[in-house]
Symmetry: C2
Subunit: 383 residues, 2 copies
Amino acid sequence: MRYFVRYGEIGIKSPKIRRKFEKILMNNIRSELKCSFKNNQGRITLLTKEDDEKVRSTLSRIFGITSYSPIIETKTTKEDITNLIKEIIPKIIEQGKFNPEKDSFAIRCRRVGEHNYSSQEIAAYCGSVVVDLTNAKVNLSNPDFVLNVEVRENKTYMYHEKIRGLGGLPVGSQGKVICLMSGGIDSPVAVYQMLKRGCSVALLHCDNAPYTSGTLDKVIENTRKLQKYSAGSEVELYTIKYGDYLEYIIKEAPPRMTCVLCKSGMYQVADIVAEKIDAHAVVDGSSLGQVASQTLDNIKSSRYYCRLPIFSPLISFDKLEIEAIGQEIGTYETSIIPDGGCSAVPKYPETHSDLKLFRWTSNRINLRQKIEDTAETIEKIEF
Amino acid sequence: MRYFVRYGEIGIKSPKIRRKFEKILMNNIRSELKCSFKNNQGRITLLTKEDDEKVRSTLSRIFGITSYSPIIETKTTKEDITNLIKEIIPKIIEQGKFNPEKDSFAIRCRRVGEHNYSSQEIAAYCGSVVVDLTNAKVNLSNPDFVLNVEVRENKTYMYHEKIRGLGGLPVGSQGKVICLMSGGIDSPVAVYQMLKRGCSVALLHCDNAPYTSGTLDKVIENTRKLQKYSAGSEVELYTIKYGDYLEYIIKEAPPRMTCVLCKSGMYQVADIVAEKIDAHAVVDGSSLGQVASQTLDNIKSSRYYCRLPIFSPLISFDKLEIEAIGQEIGTYETSIIPDGGCSAVPKYPETHSDLKLFRWTSNRINLRQKIEDTAETIEKIEF
């Protein structure tokens, strides 16, 4: 089978960047499908013997693809074209995708190269072949069924489906980021959003045991699900033993500061790990105002000691929007498995952290040293 | 007229936070409509003599509202309810919103309090009244038309429309942020996204004249459009004379670094201005990989000297998604007015800034002092 694979934003980049992106996109597809490519004037043709269903399920989760179409090809004489139409239209009718008794239709034609007919002529000609064959009604402005005919140099391509892809940029085209990953709903969605814009991702799970339990299993399960959207790039998963650090801040700092110091520590640990694994930004699932800890004041304090940029792709998302994406990509059902929450959360967590007090406290209890020690407990999880 | 006004996420917050948010939401509505409210068990009823069309256009652009419904009320006896149905159904038919010859219908009933009928009984009763009146078919699972009947204590409310609101949180509930605002497509959309999550916004336009021209007019026009989504909170607009700074870096630093130093300066100026105007984060329209300057390496350098958190709500958005929102809110058409671009952009701008070199250069040319001087040129624009 053959498929047209269309990409969007890659097309508007400089020729050099475009070639680089195209190459990454083709490699990503090739990592999941036995296939080869023809790359011609800004559009990729994929050739494969794999099962159509597998191809579709693969292309539908590879970022950078705006749409794709299964195509069938022939030569460019009217006879060849007629024969192909006569071959495919009955199959399409059989598949229930075109009902000539009820559905109107149109031919959309594009033509590149030298031929002894114009685009309009060949469109009208193909239309008459379909009418002869089916007696269906032509409707050019609002057809129920469209047959696309592309005559390009010495080949004619036909397709009737244009299946929407995920858009975005090919994973691996934008460098690596490190994503804070909890067992919750938001962080896997944040990771997905960064994959969408072409980042390779490393996930960092701060394991709060003994203050939490069972979260690592959820994280591993959701990492597997995210890997599906990262064809061609490994989703790396790291864990940090974070319980000691939590115990330390509970003992040394005022209880109301626990959550802000916890979050601050996570950013700083990510910052330290990032350097080791060549990641260039920290990502988290913050959504402004969603919970008590996600106020501007708390965000200001908790991010203060992180040197790398922090991206919060969900910062402006409503909870319902985040949940909808989580359901779409399959992480939601794992995220909502009850895990008892975090027992380190104090009765009255700070909702308006004072930056000066936060900095003073961090210095007083020599937090940086504790964080550097904590970062040493890093472990890569194979899954 | 009366309207039910429904809100989403506010409802899941603690009673104290909820009351605060409700108050802000009502104040925001009141800033645009002469109206009063009844607030009862997590739902607001709005009472107003304003024109229905004005009410709808207002509620449809106030963040924090998930949906609203024009309602009509009566007492709770079957006679009262019958009379009201007989009064409103013909009007609804006349408005073309229910065609009994074609459309099936259902009654959805909720009841709170003590009455001499159950919810099911009153739903069935109302259904029979509508059937007697119109002969329409009942379809409980997939009706074309729904009449909602709510019996609550000593009042019955009816409505048949549920108009979707923008969601998000009420503007003013989350504190103030300062947003870098250019004449382009992305930044107004980024501002809109932060308004959506309840921030008050101040906009900072760095005027690159003489390297650009005409951008301030576009910024003012788009600020007016954003003000529509900020009922109850003034969208403040500030400008900075940025041309001198650009001239300085063009003279003192390698040409390829111009764009990164320009962006870095903007973040730092925003950081300085933020303190004066009590803003707690910087916002910009960055979308990863969208243009050459938005690589991870460039973002890392340009954000290095900004102390406040930087939110880029569009970081994971595709260009088409950003444009779609810009069109929806009306800023797009202003953004695309040609303004000649920025003549300070070098022939080969850096796409992979080296942080060490960036810091070394910033220090060598004493950039911080220049930025502090630049921040002094701030001016508030009234529009």
